[in-house]
């Protein structure tokens, strides 16, 4: 699947998660993410996944509930009271605070999992390739760093063995100087050779993209428009101000795209956009619309569930709930292509 389809999927999941505080709807999104993570292709060579999803989910929800229950003493259903005057901790422990904390845990888990699936599904090289051309020196630095990582690890092992042969033992942190310093010096020598090799091959980094006054002025204006929109939104709380902020972001993105147009790039294998990418993008975006667009057959108010002051069972909208399963669309596509 095209990497931009994955970005669209990620954005829709994050937008859906930010649109709701209803635990039932968040749980359905988490369920779809759980299935997605099972089916996501793992590229173990490139990516280290630092945690298993389900235990991590339990730890996160437990921690968020416990933390909120111990520090937020609002709500009418009191379990017990912590005596004394311990700052932040002393006070009533309520059911409402536990539910609010658990909902925080659900949303945070959703954010973590969606990014984990994104990281699992795309290789590091694909992510680097997505860096705009205007930032090609940055992409090159990242590329050098990632490509030299295995070499650095190998070199570290060689140095360790060489020092061990000389009778060097690693007991204290000071002993690591004899490992770290040769590694640093060796890497800096290599960077010298690399710079010479790049120059010899005619690599000229920035002669084509000097930051001009015009460029700065446009970026400056974009940032000012963004800040203005944000301030208006904070003061008035109107949603149209969000549009102003987005316009500021659009100005900056457009300018970087415009600069990128003049920078030549060799593409050896262009990523194709298939019919399935249209289908998957269409399905997930349609599902997302149900979270934001008021329709006669849906009730958007149930998405903003608040357990305070007295916890009640959250309402559930079956249509939005069913639509959330549409976020599974990339999984079906991947399953088909893997067959």
């Amino acid at each position: 699947m095209n990497s931009f389809t994955w970005i669209i999927w990620l954005i829709t999941i994050l937008a859906a998660l930010s649109a709701t505080r209803n635990p039932l709807h968040i749980l359905i999104i988490l369920l779809t993410l759980g299935v997605m993570s099972r089916l996501a292709k793992k590229d173990q060579k490139d990516t280290l996944v630092p945690f298993s999803i389900f235990p991590f989910f339990l730890i996160l929800v437990f921690t968020a509930s416990a933390f909120n229950a111990l520090t937020s003493h609002f709500g009418s259903t009191i379990f017990f009271t912590i005596p004394g005057e311990i700052p932040l901790i002393s006070g009533s422990v309520t059911l409402e605070a536990v539910i609010y904390g658990a909902t925080n845990g659900f949303v945070l888990s959703g954010i973590f999992f969606s990014f984990t699936i994104f990281n699992q599904s795309l290789s590091v090289k694909t992510i680097i390739r997505m860096i705009p051309k205007a930032f090609y020196p940055l992409a090159l630095i990242i590329s050098i760093a990632i490509n030299f990582l295995p070499a650095i690890k190998r070199r570290l092992e060689e140095i360790r063995q060489a020092q061990a042969i000389r009778g060097h033992q690693l007991h204290h942190i000071k002993d690591y100087i004899s490992l770290f310093m040769p590694l640093l010096i060796d890497s800096l020598e290599r960077s010298m050779l690399l710079a010479e090799a790049m120059t010899a091959r005619g690599f000229i980094p920035h002669s084509q993209q000097q930051s001009s006054l015009k460029s700065r002025l446009i970026i400056f204006s974009g940032l000012l428009v963004f800040v203005s929109g944000w301030l208006i939104q904070l003061i008035n709380g109107n949603n149209y101000a969000l549009g102003i902020s987005l316009a500021g972001v659009a100005i900056i993105i457009f300018w970087f795209w415009w600069i990128s147009k003049n920078i030549p790039q060799s593409v050896y294998k262009r990523e194709e956009w298939h019919v399935q990418d249209w289908v998957v993008s269409g399905i997930v975006l349609s599902a997302l619309c149900l979270y934001f667009v008021p329709l006669p057959f849906t009730n958007l108010e149930i998405l903003s569930y608040d357990p305070y002051p007295t916890a009640l069972l959250p309402d559930f909208d079956a249509i939005i709930g069913c639509a959330s399963f549409c976020f599974l669309a990339p999984a079906f596509y991947q399953k088909r292509t893997s067959r």
Binding site: S18, A64, L140, A145, L194, I219, L224, G237
Partner: protein
Amino acid sequence: MYKTILNTISKWALYTLCTGLGIFAFMQPFFTPGIKQSLGYSQIRTNEMPWMVTVALSLCVFVIVYEIQTQAVNTRIIALMGMLVAINASLRFLEVAIPGPGGFSPIFFLIIMVGYVFGGHFGFLMGALTLIVSSLITGGVGPWLPGQMFTAGWVGMSTPLMKVFINGLQKIFNKSNGTIEVISLAIFGAFWGLFYGAIMNLWAWPFIAGPSDQYWSPGISANDTLARYATYYMITSFAWDLGRSLGNVIFISIFGAPVLRTLRRFKDRFSFTHLVEELPFNTDQFNLLD
């Protein structure tokens, strides 16, 4: 002359705006509830604010990185930065594989050293790129990343400020050896170990601490809000960040002097200027160096 002044002003205006926007983004939990309460608008969209902060910080990081790369990047810097980031990212890899006590992280040590020797621009790139590369290799890309990049960039960017302080101390004590330098940088590392955690906690504070009326009350001053955050920080994160702070002190104290010597030596080697000799024929076609 006129163009140079205009360029300098526009460059610093952009840096100031980005830094100001970054501070505004991180500090918004302190004033947002007050603004909303005073204007009778109390509906806090809890899930939305961290996203606005993420977008704002992403813009700031990209703009600063773009600005630096157009001014200060050549092949030598690209290669040097790539290698240093690779070393630092491998240290982060070790940290994920073998977690240290609390928030202990070996990456800040090299960011501080590099920022101190090579300057603020280089330090900012070192901090921001270390975080992005290590996130790519450990699968840690997420909405928290722009905040981490920006704050780590600040660590590197602020390190040259220590030069003024260290020069002053060296004059007072009439000594120019490296001990004062290493001790000062270790204290600086200790400060950033704690401050980095305090800044990063701000991203999630309103999100974790519940609705605004639970961490903020009508009529309380900015100082009171700050005191509440300080209590929250002391209870939830201080012990964790202390691990990072002590780690920075230990690393800078032990590795500081030899690493500074090495980086200075290579700085001299990397900052050579290619002078084209007057030759009887046109040399432009051979001038491949940037």
